[in-house]
């Protein structure tokens, strides 16, 4: 897997390169500024770009802007955005082109190497990987008269995992139940939330997020 890396902190950049190489990823270019990142992403068209939100020269959301711009030029270019904090607003901006292949994770998720690499692979395959903190924020916004409130605790759990971008098998593994049971939960959730049924992992995550965002 070919990866472009955008990270300005040397320590973290070297760590990420080592981590990625250990998991059979080739880092084709590692850059440390927003403009360089945009150029590298468009030039190399990597399988996935791992991008820090905050980059020089502005040290604001340079990386995020570069990612969004790159996806405008190369539609569907898989991008995994890492951030010191998660902001719902940024998640929405990343997802707004509805092309999939998007991840938005807290930087410290890197420390759980297996899950992190899993997220990279999911994004590279065109799926999504939303940080549980984003999902929590979204789920916390359950007003009184919203259908979200009608979900059972188990269904909410499944919904969170689904919104992170996990497959039925992965969710089943996480919750120690059969895949069939998960399928039933998901059908219930889609029914209650009035979402179109979909087997495609990426589509259904986008559907969930679109629903959560609307209300």
């Amino acid at each position: 897997m070919r990866v472009v890396l955008g990270e300005d902190l040397v320590l973290l950049r070297d760590g990420l390169i080592r981590l990625l190489q250990a998991h059979d990823c080739e880092v084709v270019e590692a850059v440390d500024t927003g403009p360089d990142l945009l150029r590298a992403m468009v030039d190399h068209r990597p399988d996935v770009a791992v991008v820090d939100v905050r980059l020089p020269p502005t040290f604001t959301d340079e990386g995020l802007r570069a990612a969004i711009e790159a996806r405008k030029r190369v539609p569907g270019l898989p991008v995994l955005v890492l951030s010191q904090y998660v902001e719902h607003l940024y998640a929405r901006e990343l997802l707004s082109d509805r092309a999939g292949g998007v991840g938005y994770l807290l930087k410290d998720r890197v420390s759980d190497v297996r899950q992190f690499v899993d997220a990279i692979r999911r994004v590279a395959a065109g799926g999504t990987a939303m940080d549980p903190e984003v999902i929590d924020q979204l789920l916390a916004r359950s007003g009184r008269d919203r259908p979200l409130a009608t979900l059972t605790p188990r269904e909410r759990e499944v919904l969170s995992l689904m919104a992170e971008g996990r497959s039925n098998a992965a969710i089943a593994g996480r919750l120690f139940v059969t895949e069939k049971a998960i399928g039933k939960h998901i059908a219930n959730i889609f029914g209650k939330l009035d979402l179109p049924l979909s087997e495609d992992d990426n589509r259904r995550v986008l559907a969930v997020l679109a629903y959560l965002d609307r209300v």
């Binding site: 905050r54 604001t60 959301d61 802007r65 969004i68 711009e69 010191q84 904090y85 902001e87 719902h88 607003l89 940024y90 929405r92 901006e93 707004s96 807290l106 930087k107 410290d108 420390s111 759980d112 924020q137 916390a140 916004r141 359950s142 007003g143 009184r144 008269d145 209300v215």
Partner: protein, 426 residues
């Protein structure tokens, strides 16, 4: 002006003219206050003045305040009380505050001036009205044979006196009509000139307000620093220590008991992510990164998105306020939205932000049950203090039964150049 209005106007003016002289005794009563106010000063030397001076000053000030209120009513604007408050409650400080306050001496000057002005201003209208009426009565009095009665240099021997007197009377009456309110205002203006704050004392009062708000700000900042220190000490620092310990123990165990070492490493990782999450919350509380990234516009939109209530956002800003103002506005809105979500029972809220005439206006409304008040040490009072540091104001309209609308105003200029937003946030 029709007839009934004229009749009503005459009635009102006559009443004013007749009642005005009743103020004369009060004005004359002010005269003995002059020596009374001066008397305690030499007595301060033999201590008794120290007790006497504040007492008499109290009387004089109450007296002056009465005139401030009266004049305020006539002029339709409140006349601020300009007295200084002593810096400490000690008797000597009180005496010094009274003696050095220019307002004390201006009060003193007011007393005799007021006596004269009151006598003139309250008698003149009555004299004019009476003269006017007399003008019409004179012909009858002369006809009745009243000898030697003179009316404005006209007597019974003046040719055409029967016509001249009423004519003059009409002139007096018109003057009376015109001057009655003028005298009232004149008195009020003299009062304001002498009893209102001078430019100096207005400035002094302003300095006092600024000093108060600065003290508030410094207190709040000190408390904030203490909170940050505590959070760092109890949170992230402790976790990092635990992390170091787990790593050290894992290092020690790795060859002897790899399984236990792996467990410790897992623990270490959890410690590190907890430390990070605590640091993140802390940073958010100091200066939200999204505020630095996207300015007030983006940060407020992000806030609205993260709020448990659905918030309708309507923001028009052509630039960015200075960073401290931006931050104050952000936290004020954050606190208000949190309040709305927690206490109002609202199903929805809205936020409107504008910048007009060098003022940043933020309005937050909800459809909850209302009844929000700014209590001491309450959240709304905290917002008020936060805004006061920037000369900002907070207004709360929250009738019981709702809805609640909180209005904040902050004077500020926007730096030109919109925060460039490369992507749509819709």
């Amino acid at each position: 002006m029709n007839d009934t209005e004229i009749v009503r106007g005459v009635k009102a003016r006559l009443r004013t003219a007749i009642l005005a002289p009743t103020r004369i005794p009060l004005a004359l009563l002010g005269l003995p206050l002059v020596p009374l106010q001066l008397l305690p000063f030499p007595l301060v030397l033999i201590t008794i003045g120290v007790v006497l001076l504040p007492l008499i000053t109290k009387v004089v000030r109450a007296y002056a305040n009465r005139y401030r209120r009266l004049a305020g009513k006539v002029l339709g604007e409140e006349i601020p009380v300009p007295y200084r408050t002593p810096t400490s409650t000690g008797p000597v400080a009180r005496v010094r505050a009274i003696a050095t306050d220019p307002a004390t001496w201006r009060d003193l000057a007011f007393l005799p001036v007021n006596a004269i002005v009151t006598v003139v201003c309250s008698l003149m209208p009555l004299v004019l009205w009476t003269s006017g009426v007399l003008g019409f009565l004179m012909p009858f009095l002369w006809a009745a044979g009243a000898d030697g009665l003179e009316y404005s240099a006209i007597d019974e021997t003046t040719p055409g006196n029967i016509l001249l007197a009423p004519l003059l009377g009409t002139l007096y009456l018109s003057l009376a009509w015109w001057l009655t309110p003028v005298f009232g205002r004149l008195h009020a203006q003299v009062t304001r000139r002498l009893l209102g704050p001078t430019a100096n004392s207005a400035l002094a009062a302003r300095v006092r307000v600024l000093a108060d708000s600065r003290a508030d700000t410094v207190d709040a900042q000190a408390a904030e620093l203490r909170r940050i220190e505590r959070d760092l000490h109890d949170g992230a620092q402790a976790r990092l220590v635990a992390l170091g310990m787990s790593l050290g123990m894992a290092e020690d165990l790795i060859t002897r008991d790899p399984e236990a070492a792996a467990r410790l490493l897992t623990e270490a990782r959890q410690s590190s992510s907890q430390a990070l999450s605590e640091l993140r919350d802390l940073v958010r509380g100091i200066h939200p990164p999204v505020l630095a990234d996207r300015g007030l516009d983006g940060a407020l939109r992000a806030l609205a998105l993260a709020s448990p209530l659905p918030v309708e956002v309507d923001i028009v800003l052509d630039g960015r306020p200075e960073a401290p103002v931006e931050s104050a506005a952000y936290f004020a809105v954050a606190e208000t939205l949190t309040n709305a979500a927690k206490h109002s029972g609202a199903a929805g809220a809205w936020l409107r932000v504008r910048h007009e005439d060098d003022r940043l206006t933020l309005m937050i409304g909800d459809d909850g049950r209302g009844g929000a008040v700014a209590t001491e040490n309450g959240g709304l009072r905290g917002i008020e203090r936060r805004l006061a540091a920037f000369d900002g104001t907070l207004g709360i309209a929250s009738p019981a039964g709702g809805p609640t609308i909180v209005t904040m105003e902050l004077p500020c200029v926007l730096s030109s150049g919109k925060t460039s937003s490369s992507s749509a946030t819709g």
